[in-house]
Every structure is written in structure tokens, then in C-alpha cells.
Symmetry: C2
Subunit: 480 residues, 2 copies
């Protein structure tokens, strides 16, 4: 294992993270908030990273598969520690709580330990949203290269089809350029969202933070009542649209720059929108019947809630946790879906359901025609065996993770709904679940050990299971 | 579709079922219970089946794959109707409740609509246990041939390995003979269990009924307090052992007749016993700590409960639904396991977990060594691709079924624990779950529509998903 390469890469990322964190200093100064400890921390943080980088400056970085996997795992733990320290310094929560909040930030989960968000200093609120935005950026960039190498099922719609070669290559000559373009789109959409939110009545600070939270499908807000705190239907609808955009494969957006709409015609985007509209309409009707509200009111909050949960953002426009059982069953279904591969969304993701359901139908057909060769096609491309195997494997690892985490929480004494929806909300990087972890609640009441375990759950979900579970394989640790 | 063959086979099975049901008449006469309606029903039932058989007596039965699948599905619905009519005639429940109870009987689920079982006539109690016993027999016999053809993942440990040919053929020359031998073992174990239960203090009637219920892993009892109603630790331990025997692949028992112990050394039996002992010991300890009971008391009820739940029998020696959260989490885990393939147990079954977990580890290895060919072996035989695909497919269909049924129940207004454990208990053919469907409760409070849907859930579980879901495939209905 080439630890020097690992440390050098981590130090490099650490310096970049430190540079982003440095933007919190002007925010704190503007709002006349105490900034001494932050500056001290950032100085030490920068010196450690720069020091490691300097020591290893002549080492040629060569990350093979095992080094890459270990780097990614270590990175998320270090991000949790580095992002947690300012929270621990300024908000007097336990180290485990600070770690949980930072992991929740960087994994774009958006589950919080704070009950009174509005009492936090501005620069801490900004710190939380910034972690989301950086996490989302990291996932988009990592997703193009590293993660899709480890788990081909996630790369399905990134690289149009393995069997026909990496088609994205035709679009842009180098992966590095692609990553840069994706980042440009991410930045552009963030700015557009911010301007619209400002125009619709938010102040600059709230607009920026919510744009960060929205495009990263993160879910941290600056208000205790989340998006509902702005009492504006226009803001709710604009955010609905931007959450949906953030949940779409960013390569589709990238193609749009070249006036190529084909990205939006992929089976994944089509099913994503179909599921979104079907669930939203059903939820609207259910809400109409159960709570006899105005149609506009029901539609606004139903479309927003489905978008928020399906894209794994986790904003709330209202406390949907108190809607009736049929509504909660529908929202629960949305929790299981997730966004697109190649987006900032977490969860299982639509493309995997497409692969799984098509493969299952092929299996059923095979029972009837045992000798026939039945291939599975997505977007006109035949799926390779290893992609199908990886997709099924991912899904089962995802289920195992959720079952074990649910049983852990239940065994700790929480009720069934809290345990199960909590596990799904954490591993799916959604944020809020139901019952004790509902949209109007927070994760502050969990013990420190619970918070550490939930943090690991967020990382497992964010890294799409394989990247973490591969550490359990004995062959990973052979031949150091 | 050759409907004549289908009807002829169903009529033949119908006559056999009628012959078994006829044994209820002497039971009713012995206990001086009114028998007129039963005799009338059995006469009509016999005449209909005999009539259909007579009309088609010159038709040569030729069940191809589609006819087999349709026959099996129709059979379970007809069994629900035929087995339900006596309940409807004598216990004044709704037709849907009677259908539910009969499906629960034949699928060996053991979920009941009756709250006061002890008030039922003896011959009705016997009718319920008899349905279990016939259902268990059917599964063992069907499992050898038909079902393993449809779903190779279930046949894994029946036919030692597909790649090396059907090894069971060496043991006994014909599948028909094998089926007969398996039935002999089933009968022999039932008689042995009955004699032991009688010896330990039950009367003949209770001993026979519980032997039927135990060997079929059914779970219907003649007592409101289930096995706990006999207040005998010896009966509890003997039943623990016989439930475990019923949950083991019957081909292992068959080999024992030839003094061949190798069946018990299979990976499935080994893991089955390991999981049983580990869960039982943990449950004992948990129960010790939570309820500070006597060690013998804790161990007796813990080992019994794990055996009951894991083998999907569903007996209760005590109301384990009121044990603490950690204990319930452990029992919940046992609910997910199931027995062996080739046994009367339902659920996912141990062999599938063995295949899935080994394949997942191979996947993880493949990430590290992308070019290596990594095969998965069970009992020294390399697994074929189609067996792995079928196993993963089964597991995901099983999950989908449970998620949809849980969400349906939750949407109907039941709490999360009732909905989820209820779905698992139904689809896994276990019987009791937790909360409103706990071991001390019953399914009587569900609406008629709920009961029909739950009945379909039991059939889907019993027929291992594929056999039912293949009806959803368009190609099933082509070319009638
Ligand atoms: K989120
Ligand atoms: K059962």
C-alpha cells in the first residue's frame, strides 16, 4: 500500500478544503461574529496539510485501486473531523455531534443535531451549507472517475454504455475536462438558483445558503422551519424545480450546453420524471382527501415534498410527518427511489431500479423459455453481465445496511418508525425520516455512539456501499 | 394453454384432498360434534372433482411449464376456497376470513383469524392442523420436482449441484420414488413427534395436532396460549428439536436412512445451526439482562422462540412480543432467515444467504482484481450463473413483496411495527409478527380486503415469488 501517495492526495484535498473554509472568515467579520478560534483552527489545519504535502512533494502520486479506495474512505472521515472542529469550537456540542453534523454536511445528508438553527452564528450556518456544496461538488467530480470504476452500476448513465465504449469521451476529450465542465454547470445552476431566490424575497445570505443546499441535494437550512420558514409559494416552487435539476444526471445538463437534448431522453430521466409526477399527483390527492386542504396548497406542498424526498434533499415546506398514513406511505416510497446516477442525489437511484426491474422481467421470461438467450437493454445498449451483477449486489448491500442499522436503532430502544425511516434517511443521504426523526425534529437526542454509527451509515450510503464494504474483504489487506 | 390437463390435475388433487378431509368425520363423530354440513360439503366437493376427472378421463395429461405454473397458482386459490368452506359453515366467519385461514393453513403460515381457538369444535381444530400437514407434504413433494424447475435457487441443495448433474438421482433412481421416500420421512417424524408429545403429557388429540403443526412448520395450535398452554418445559424442548428437524432439508434426512451423514454437513445445514445457536444464545443473554429471569427459563423460551421463528413455524411458548427492544430486534433477525430449501419452512432460506453473501464477497474481490476470474463455490461445487441470478432475483422479489405489503398495511392505518412485521410474518409463512399481530394476537381485526391481500402474500411467499410473478410476464399470456 502506497501510503505516501494517499497522504499526499489527502493533504492536497485538505488544502483545497481549507481554502474554501477561509471564505467563512469574511462572513463572520461582516456579521461581527467572533472569529479568533476559526482563524487559529484554519491556520493549524492549513499548516498540517501543507506540511504533509511539502514533505511528500517529490513523491510521485500513483493511486492504484486499493490506494484509491482507502483514500476515499479516509477522506470522508477526515472531512468529518475537519468540518466538525469549527462546530465543536463555536456551538458547544459534543465531538461526536460535531462529527455527525460535518459528515451529514459533506455527504449532503442534511440531518442535523441542532434544534434551534436560527440561534447559530451566520458563519456557522454558512459553514454547514458550504460543506454541502463542497460535498456535492466532490461527488459529481468523483463520480465521473473513481467511484464508477469501483462500482460499475453507478456509472451506467455516466458512461452511456460500457459495451460500446465510453461515449462521454466523444463529447469531451478528457475526463479532467468533463469534470471541470460538470463543475461549471454545478456552479452556474447554484448562481442561477441564488439569484432567483434573492429575487423572490430572500436576503443574499439565505439565498446563497439555500442555493448551496439545493444544488447539492443537501437539505441544511438557515431556518428552523426549513423552506417553510419563508412563507412563499414561489420560493417553494422554484426550489422544487432546482431540486429536480440537481437530481438529474449532470451529463444530461452538460449535453444541453452543446444543444443536445438526448441526455434528458434517457430511460433514467424519463422514469425519474414519471415517478416524480405519479407520486406527486397521488400525494396531492391523498392530502386533499385526508386533510381537505385547498388544491393549490396540497399541490404545492406535495410536489415539493416528493421532489425533496426523491432527490434526497430533505427540505421541508411543512411538517409532512403529521400527514395521514396513506400520505406517509407514499413519501416513504419516494424515500426508496433516489435521484439519478451522476447527480448529487443519494439513495438507490432510478437507473438501478430500471436495471433491476428489466433484469427481473428477463428472468421471468427465461422461466418460460429456458433455452432462449434474453438480453437486457437500457437506452438501446445491451447490459453487460458485470454491470447487472454489480447493480444487484449494490441493491442487496444497500438493503443489508438499512436492515442492520434499523435493527441497531430498534434494539437501542427507539420505535419501529424512527428506526426504519431513520436508517433510510441516513443511508439514503436524505436527512429527515418520520416519527422521532421527522421533518420537524432533529438527530440531537441520539447518544454519541449512535451518532458515530449513523455517521458511518451516511458515508456507506454516499460511497455507494462497495467503496466501504470492500474494506471487509480479506484480499484488500493482503500484501501491504 | 392446455386447460384440460390443468383441470384434470386439479381434479385429481381435489379428490385426494377430499379423501384427507374425510378423516375429519370420525373426529367429529367421536367428539359428538354436528357433522351434517361437513358431509354434505365433502360429498359435493368429491362429486365436482370426480365429475371433472371423469369427463377428462381420456385426456392425456401433458403439463408444460406454463400449464404447471398456472396449475400451481390455481391450486392454492382452490385450496383456500375448499379448505375455507368448512370454516365458513361451522364458525360463522366471513368468507374472506375463512379463505385467509385456509390459505394460512395450506401455506403453513399459521396466522389465524380466531381469537378464542379453544372454543372451536375439535374437528375444526383438526381440519386446521390437517391443512398444515397436507401443505407441508405438498411443498416437500412439489419442491423436488416442479418448483425447483421454475426457480433454480430453491433447488440448490435439493439437487446437490447442477453442474455435476442431479446427484439425488444416484441415491434413488426416480424422482417419484424420492418424493415417496421424503413423504415417508415426513410421516415417520410426525408419528415420532406425536408419540413423544403424548408421552410428555398431551392427550392424543393435542399430540396429533401439534405433530401436524410442527413437522409442517405451520404453527396452528389447539390452545389459545399455543405451546405455552401446556406448561411443560419438556414439551417445549421436544418441539424445539422437531421444529429444527422440520426446517432441515429433507434430503439430508433421506440420506440418513442410507447411513449417509453427509447431508447434515452441507454448508446450508451448518450455517442454519450456527445461526440458530448464535441467535438463541444472544437472545437468552438479552432476556437474562432485560427481564432478570432464571437462566433455565430464559434459555428454554429463547431457544424455542428462535427455532419457532427461524423455521417459520410461529409457535409461542410465551408472549415474546412484550420482551424488550433488543430481544425483539434479535427475533426480527431470525424472522428474516428462514429454514433450509427442501424443508417445509418458508422465508428466504439459509442456502440463499450463503449464495448471496459468497457472491457479494466475490464481487468485492473483483473490484480489487478486475481481471481475475472469481468463481463462487457451495459444498465444493461451482455455482452456475443462472443459479446466482435466480437467487439474487428471488431475494429482490421477496424484498419488493414485503415493502409493498408493508406500505399497503401502513397506508391502511396500522402502525409501522404491525405493518412491517405483519408483512414479513405473512410472506415468510411465519404467522405471528409483533405489535398488533404479535404472538398473543391474531389477524381477525383486518378487513376482508386486507385478508384477501394478505392471503395472496402468503401464496407468493410459499411459491417462492417466481411462480406467482411469472403471471405478470406478458409472454406468459401469449399464444393461448
Ligand atoms: K439530503
Ligand atoms: K408458520
Amino acid at each position: 500500500m502506497d501510503f505516501k501517495s494517499i497522504f499526499k492526495v489527502l493533504a492536497l484535498i485538505g488544502m483545497a478544503v481549507g481554502a474554501f473554509f477561509a471564505t467563512e472568515i469574511p462572513v463572520a467579520i461582516y456579521y461581527e461574529e467572533p472569529v479568533d478560534k476559526l482563524m487559529l483552527f484554519l491556520t493549524i489545519f492549513f499548516l498540517i496539510n501543507a506540511g504533509i504535502f511539502f514533505i511528500l512533494k517529490n513523491h510521485k502520486v500513483d493511486l492504484k485501486i486499493r490506494e484509491s479506495i482507502l483514500s476515499v474512505n479516509l477522506l470522508w472521515i477526515l472531512l468529518g473531523i475537519g468540518g466538525g472542529i469549527p462546530l465543536w469550537l463555536y456551538t458547544y456540542v459534543s465531538p461526536a455531534s460535531a462529527f455527525f453534523e460535518a459528515v451529514s454536511g459533506f455527504t449532503t445528508t442534511g440531518a442535523t443535531v441542532y434544534s434551534d438553527i436560527e440561534s447559530l452564528p451566520h458563519f456557522i450556518l454558512f459553514h454547514r451549507s458550504l460543506m454541502h456544496w463542497m460535498g456535492g461538488m466532490g461527488i459529481i467530480v468523483l463520480g465521473v472517475g473513481l467511484l464508477s470504476m469501483i462500482n460499475p452500476s453507478g456509472s451506467l448513465s455516466l458512461f452511456k454504455a460500457e459495451s460500446t465504449g465510453i461515449q462521454i469521451e466523444k463529447l469531451r476529450p478528457k475526463i479532467k475536462d468533463t469534470a471541470l465542465s460538470l463543475w461549471g454547470i454545478y456552479l452556474g445552476l447554484t448562481i442561477l438558483d441564488m439569484l432567483l431566490l434573492k429575487f423572490l424575497g430572500m436576503n443574499w445570505f439565505d439565498a446563497l445558503n439555500h442555493a448551496f443546499s439545493t444544488l447539492s441535494t443537501g437539505g441544511f437550512s438557515t431556518k428552523n422551519d426549513s423552506l417553510g420558514g419563508f412563507h412563499s409559494d414561489a420560493i417553494i416552487w422554484v426550489t422544487t424545480v432546482f431540486m429536480l435539476l440537481a437530481g438529474i444526471n449532470f451529463l444530461a445538463h452538460l449535453r444541453l450546453l452543446y444543444r443536445d437534448f438526448s441526455g434528458y431522453k434517457s430511460e433514467e430521466v424519463r422514469w425519474y420524471l414519471i415517478v416524480f409526477f405519479v407520486l406527486s399527483i397521488f400525494l396531492t390527492l391523498t392530502h386533499e382527501i385526508d386533510d381537505s386542504a385547498q388544491l393549490w396548497f396540497s399541490a404545492t406542498h406535495s410536489f415539493f415534498t416528493v421532489a425533496s424526498v426523491m432527490t434526497t434533499t430533505g427540505f421541508a415546506s411543512t411538517n409532512y410527518g403529521v400527514w395521514g398514513h396513506p400520505a406517509i406511505a407514499l413519501i416513504f416510497l419516494a424515500m426508496l427511489v433516489g435521484g439519478n446516477a451522476g447527480s448529487t442525489a443519494g439513495g438507490v437511484k432510478v437507473i438501478r431500479y430500471v436495471v433491476i426491474i428489466k433484469t427481473l422481467f428477463a428472468e421471468l421470461k427465461r422461466i418460460l423459455h429456458p433455452r432462449a438467450l434474453i438480453a437486457v437493454y437500457v437506452d438501446g445498449n445491451k447490459l453487460k453481465e458485470n454491470v447487472i451483477a454489480s447493480t444487484f449486489g449494490f441493491f442487496i448491500l444497500y438493503i443489508f445496511t438499512n436492515v442492520l442499522l434499523s435493527l441497531y436503532l430498534y434494539g437501542r430502544g427507539f420505535d419501529a418508525m424512527t428506526s426504519i425511516s431513520g436508517a433510510l434517511a441516513i443511508v439514503g443521504n436524505i436527512g429527515p425520516g418520520f416519527a422521532q426523526v421527522g421533518p420537524a425534529d432533529n438527530f440531537g437526542f441520539f447518544s454519541d455512539i449512535d451518532k458515530i454509527i449513523l455517521s458511518i451509515g451516511m458515508i456507506i450510503g454516499r460511497l455507494e456501499c462497495y467503496t466501504v464494504y470492500v474494506l471487509l474483504s480479506l484480499s484488500f489487506w493482503k500484501k501491504f
